[in-house]
Structures are given as structure tokens and as C-alpha cells.
């Protein structure tokens, strides 16, 4: 298995602040990797660097063999990386269906004239995208919500809609930023099942940031731990749970035995 995503020595500095430092990370095709760490460890910054929101100040990022660091976000998205956001960023005033339709937008050619004259070709193309959008919403159990504006949806459905929008871009790599944040136990259980199901169905490689340890430990065969912008550990859930530095990062240093 070759690496789908290769991060080599990536650093991201904001002025004097080193949000990420010398990060190496490889994600192979089909893997499900958890990215954990205390608050402010630089997890979301890693996502922002991968998706082109920030240009890393050091290092290189390759996706499917192509260098993507410094590329514009929309170009990276077209190469097959999709993401969700920690604080949901849907197109609030648009309907759930429109949100997904926008995810599909790169599969349609822009045809200003065709859309103005409503040519038959344009009409057919639109119908195709709409059919796929309906199907995707149904698959995620959002079929009944499609006509409502996305900000009216219950919180859990907004999270799911964001995943649907990301899937509509037909990604190979999906980055989930705290997908379970703010969910109750039942919703979390449903989400766990959903992630597994989508991964198989869409042949996805997933990198997930999550604070719920129980969830991460149960779904991710491999976990990477960040602290102060540096990778401090990587391995199976068992290894991580016993890793001294990880325990230290989360719980603080062991008190010297009196």
C-alpha cells in the first residue's frame, strides 16, 4: 500500500507562534486514522494546511503523488480532499438540497450561456446532478429534510449534512474535524456506524480529529497524537493508551512519589 497522503516535516508558524512543528504523517489508501491531542495542540491547523487554507511555512505535502502544499483550496478540493468543520460551516440560508448540489458543482461544466437560455443539454445535466444529490441525501437519512434551509435543521442533522456535502465532492480523502462534538450518546453511536458504512461504500480514506476517546479508540485502528504542534506518539489504540508522553500531555506529569 502506498501512501495517499504524505506530510513531511510540515511546520506552520503564525508570527512567533509555532502551531505545528516538524510534522511527519503518512496515511495509506483506505486507512482510518485518528488525530488526537489536547486543546490547542494544532490538530485543526493540520487540517487547514492540508486543505490549502494556510500555506505551510515549512515542509511538503503530497496527495496521491502530487505536491499540494501552497495550492488554492478549490484546486485541492478538486484533487479529492474534502473536509468538515469543527464549528459547522454550512451555507446557512440555502436548503439542505442546495448544500449538497453545491458539493457536486465540480462535476458540472460551467455553461453561463446554456443556463441563461435553458438549453436542453443544460437541463439534462442539471437533472443528473439533482438525482445524485437526492440519492446522497437519502443515503444519509436526510431525504425528508432536503427542502428546509440548513440552519433550521437539528444539530445532529447539520453535522450529517456537512458530511453529505463533503461526500458530494467525490473525495478520496475525507477529513472530519470533531464530527461528534456536541452529540449525545445515541447520536454518537449512529455517527460511528455511519463513518464505518461510508468508508466502505465510498472507498474513503479518513483522517478524523475527535475528543471523544472512547469513540476514537473504538473506530480508529491507528491513532496519531499531537501536543504543542508536535507529534508525540503514533500507533494502535492500545499502544497510545499506555504511552507515557500521551498520558502526560493529557493528565500532567506524575507527582514525585513522596
Amino acid at each position: 500500500m502506498s501512501a495517499l497522503l504524505e506530510i513531511q516535516g510540515v511546520g506552520m508558524e503564525f508570527g512567533g507562534l509555532k502551531a505545528v512543528e516538524g510534522l511527519d504523517l503518512e496515511v495509506a489508501e483506505g486507512e482510518l486514522v485518528g488525530l488526537i491531542g489536547p486543546n490547542g495542540a494544532g490538530k485543526t491547523t493540520v487540517f487547514n494546511v492540508i486543505t490549502g487554507v494556510y500555506r505551510p511555512t515549512r515542509g511538503r505535502i503530497c496527495f496521491a503523488g502530487e505536491r499540494i502544499d501552497g495550492m488554492a483550496p478549490h484546486l485541492i478540493s478538486r484533487r479529492g480532499i474534502a473536509r468538515t468543520f469543527q464549528n459547522i460551516r454550512l451555507f446557512k440560508n440555502l436548503s439542505a438540497l442546495d448544500n449538497v448540489v453545491l458539493g457536486f458543482n465540480r462535476s458540472a461544466r460551467q455553461d453561463v450561456l446554456g443556463s441563461m437560455l435553458l438549453t436542453a443539454k443544460h437541463w439534462r445535466r442539471q437533472a443528473g446532478i439533482l438525482k445524485r444529490s437526492h440519492e446522497l441525501l437519502d443515503k444519509l437519512g436526510l431525504g425528508l429534510a432536503e427542502g428546509r434551509s440548513s440552519m433550521e435543521l437539528p444539530y445532529g442533522e447539520q453535522r450529517k449534512l456537512e458530511i453529505a456535502r463533503a461526500l458530494a465532492t467525490q473525495p478520496r480523502l475525507l477529513l472530519l474535524d470533531e464530527p461528534a462534538a456536541g452529540m449525545n450518546l445515541a447520536e454518537k453511536r449512529e455517527l460511528t456506524g455511519l463513518i464505518e458504512r461510508l468508508r466502505r461504500e465510498f472507498n474513503l480514506t479518513i483522517l478524523v480529529i475527535e475528543h471523544d476517546m472512547k469513540m476514537v479508540m473504538s473506530i480508529c485502528p491507528r491513532i496519531v497524537v499531537l501536543d504543542h504542534g508536535q507529534k508525540i506518539a503514533g500507533g494502535t489504540p492500545d499502544e497510545i493508551q499506555r504511552h507515557e508522553q500521551v498520558i502526560e500531555a493529557y493528565l500532567g506529569e506524575k507527582a514525585p512519589s513522596a
Partner: protein, 333 residues
């Protein structure tokens, strides 16, 4: 082909009705009301096209009068230098004259639109890197520069203004343009790809992460909006008065248009049409109040914005019964 005709039948019928109405109005309507109707039509083109930029794409532009000026002066130059003398030389009469003048007006209007679109592209490319207030100030500055350039171009009459020979933009000409402007912008932004304009307004950053080339769409909105501003400018220049001065395209005009967009509802095309009509008619209706006219006008504006801060229509649209949509939402559960 069948789909194409189904999709466009209603539009054709509307255009024919407009042409017929124009014919009737010209003969039987009081010239005062006729002029107001023409003004409303021009205002509709301006406000709907500005809504594409300000409301739908969320790029706050304060330079719409500048693009209108480019269209007005480009078309004026064409008429004064070429079209006017040429039409005069033909010395046509009756129905023949009407048809030739209508076609000539079409060409003039398109030239005005293209000139404004070019200006929109040149200004938009650098200016659209700016956001919010900065973009507003940059476009405001551009509008003023345009005005001052025309003011100091003696060949175009300078500050005195310029008198424009026929063809005249009558009801038919103006409303054909208005209907096409509304239909094209509506169809564009409600197409699958066109939703990207709304997406940029809602969350530019999220739009980029789903693969939308945000710069490209902002430029399309800006260029298309400028095109129709230019069309409106050309129609305005060729309206019954046949005289334009640079002072007519000052920043106050831009702000007036922004007020109409906001009043109608940012993002609502039907709202823009209603606001353009209402705010063009209002000063005329208030003529009876003489010097209190502007006070009442402003007061009404303040009242509307207090009671409906989202604008008259918010983001909602009035849809016509024969309106064909590419898709229908399932009913809300």
C-alpha cells in the same frame, strides 16, 4: 430542442406582450406616465444587476453608477459619431424606420453593455481581492474616477453634457432589456452551478473547500452586473430627453441603487424589482407634498428598514405560476 422551447415559451410570450404594450402605450398613454414607466424599467435593470453583485454574491459594490456611466457614454459616442448620422442619411419613414431604429437601438445597447462589462472586468480583477468595506471604498473610488474622466473629456461634452441623436429607447426597448436581464440573472443564479454565487455570500471559505473557484465566480458576477448596468446606461442615454451629463452618475446615484437593493432584500430578485418600481414611483407620488417630498421619502425608508431589516422580501422570491424549475423540493416534512 423540445425542452428548449418548453423552457423559453413563457419568456417569448412575455416579450411579445411587452412589445404590444409598448405599441399601445406610445399612442394612448400620457407622456408623463409613459416616462415614469420607462424610468421604472431602467431602474429594474440597474437594481437587479446590482443585486447580483451585492445581494446574491455578497460583494458590496458602491460603483454601479460608474458602470452605468461607461455604458451611457460608450453608447452616446457610438450614436453621435456613427449611428445617428447613418440613420439620418437613410431618411426612412413609417414602419421601416421603426424596425431599423429598434435594431440600431439593440446594437447600441449591446455596445454600451460590453463597454461596461470590460470596465467591470478591469476594475473587478484587482478590486475583488478586497473584502467588505475595502471593496465598497474601492468601487466608490472607481465610480468617481469614471465620472471625473467624462467630466474632463471635452469630446464627450465635458461637464456640460452631451446631446444624443435618435434612436430613442422607448417602452418596448427598455422592457425587452429588463425582461431579458431579469430572466437571465434569475436562470443563472438558480442553476446548479449558479448556486455558487449564493454559496460565496454564505461562506466564501466553505465554498472554496467544496471546489468552487470563488474568484472566478466573483468576477463573473461583477462583469455580468456591469454589463447590465451598461445596458441600462445606454437606454438611459437614449431616453426621451436625449441628454446626459456626468453629474447624473455620481456617488449619490450608486447609493440610491444600493438602497433599492437593500430595501428589496439582499438576494431577492423579485424584491429588487418591487423596490426599483416603488422607489422610482414614490418621489412622483409624493409630488403633492412639495418641499416635504424628500423628508417623507426618507422617513418611509427608515420606517421600512425598522420594521423589515431584512428588506421587503428578505431572501424570498415571488414565483410566477408558469415558472419552470429544474427541480422541485419534496414537501417539508
Amino acid at each position: 430542442m423540445k425542452v428548449f422551447w418548453q423552457n423559453n415559451m413563457a419568456l417569448l410570450v412575455v416579450l411579445l406582450v411587452v412589445a404590444a404594450a409598448g405599441f399601445g402605450f406610445q399612442r394612448h398613454l400620457d407622456p408623463y406616465y409613459y416616462k415614469i414607466l420607462v424610468d421604472v424599467g431602467i431602474a429594474i435593470i440597474l437594481v437587479v444587476s446590482l443585486n447580483l453583485i451585492n445581494g446574491i454574491t455578497g460583494q458590496f459594490s458602491l460603483g454601479h453608477a460608474g458602470f452605468m456611466a461607461v455604458g451611457a457614454y460608450a453608447s452616446a459616442a457610438l450614436s453621435v459619431l456613427a449611428a445617428g448620422p447613418w440613420l439620418n442619411g437613410l431618411a426612412l419613414g413609417g414602419a421601416q424606420k421603426m424596425v431599423v431604429e429598434f435594431v440600431a437601438l439593440g446594437v447600441i445597447v449591446i455596445v454600451g453593455g460590453v463597454a461596461a462589462a470590460l470596465a467591470g472586468f478591469v476594475v473587478g480583477m484587482p478590486a475583488l481581492r478586497l473584502r467588505g468595506d475595502y471593496l465598497a471604498i474601492a468601487t466608490l473610488g472607481f465610480g468617481e474616477i469614471i465620472r471625473i474622466v467624462f467630466q474632463n473629456t471635452e469630446q464627450l461634452g465635458g461637464a456640460r453634457g452631451i446631446s444624443i441623436p435618435p434612436p430613442r429607447s422607448d417602452f418596448t426597448g427598455v422592457y425587452v432589456c429588463a425582461v431579458l436581464c431579469v430572466a437571465f440573472i434569475w436562470r443563472l443564479v438558480h442553476s446548479v452551478k449558479g448556486k455558487s454565487f449564493f454559496a460565496i455570500r454564505e461562506d466564501e471559505f466553505a465554498a472554496a473547500t467544496v471546489g468552487i473557484d470563488t474568484t472566478k465566480y466573483k468576477v463573473i458576477a461583477f462583469v455580468l452586473g456591469s454589463f447590465f448596468a451598461g445596458v441600462a446606461g445606454a437606454l438611459f442615454a437614449h431616453s426621451a430627453t436625449g441628454y446626459i451629463t456626468p453629474a447624473q452618475f455620481d456617488a449619490v446615484k450608486s447609493i440610491e441603487l444600493v438602497v433599492m437593493v437593500v430595501l428589496g432584500g439582499l438576494g431577492s430578485i423579485s424584491g429588487s424589482i418591487i423596490a426599483a418600481a416603488a422607489l422610482t414611483l414614490l418621489p412622483e407620488i409624493l409630488r403633492g407634498f412639495a418641499e416635504y417630498r424628500l423628508v417623507v421619502y426618507s422617513l418611509l425608508l427608515v420606517l421600512v428598514m425598522l420594521t423589515r431589516p431584512q428588506g421587503l422580501m428578505g431572501m424570498k422570491e415571488i414565483k410566477l405560476p408558469w415558472h419552470r424549475q429544474p427541480y422541485q423540493h419534496k414537501p417539508v416534512a
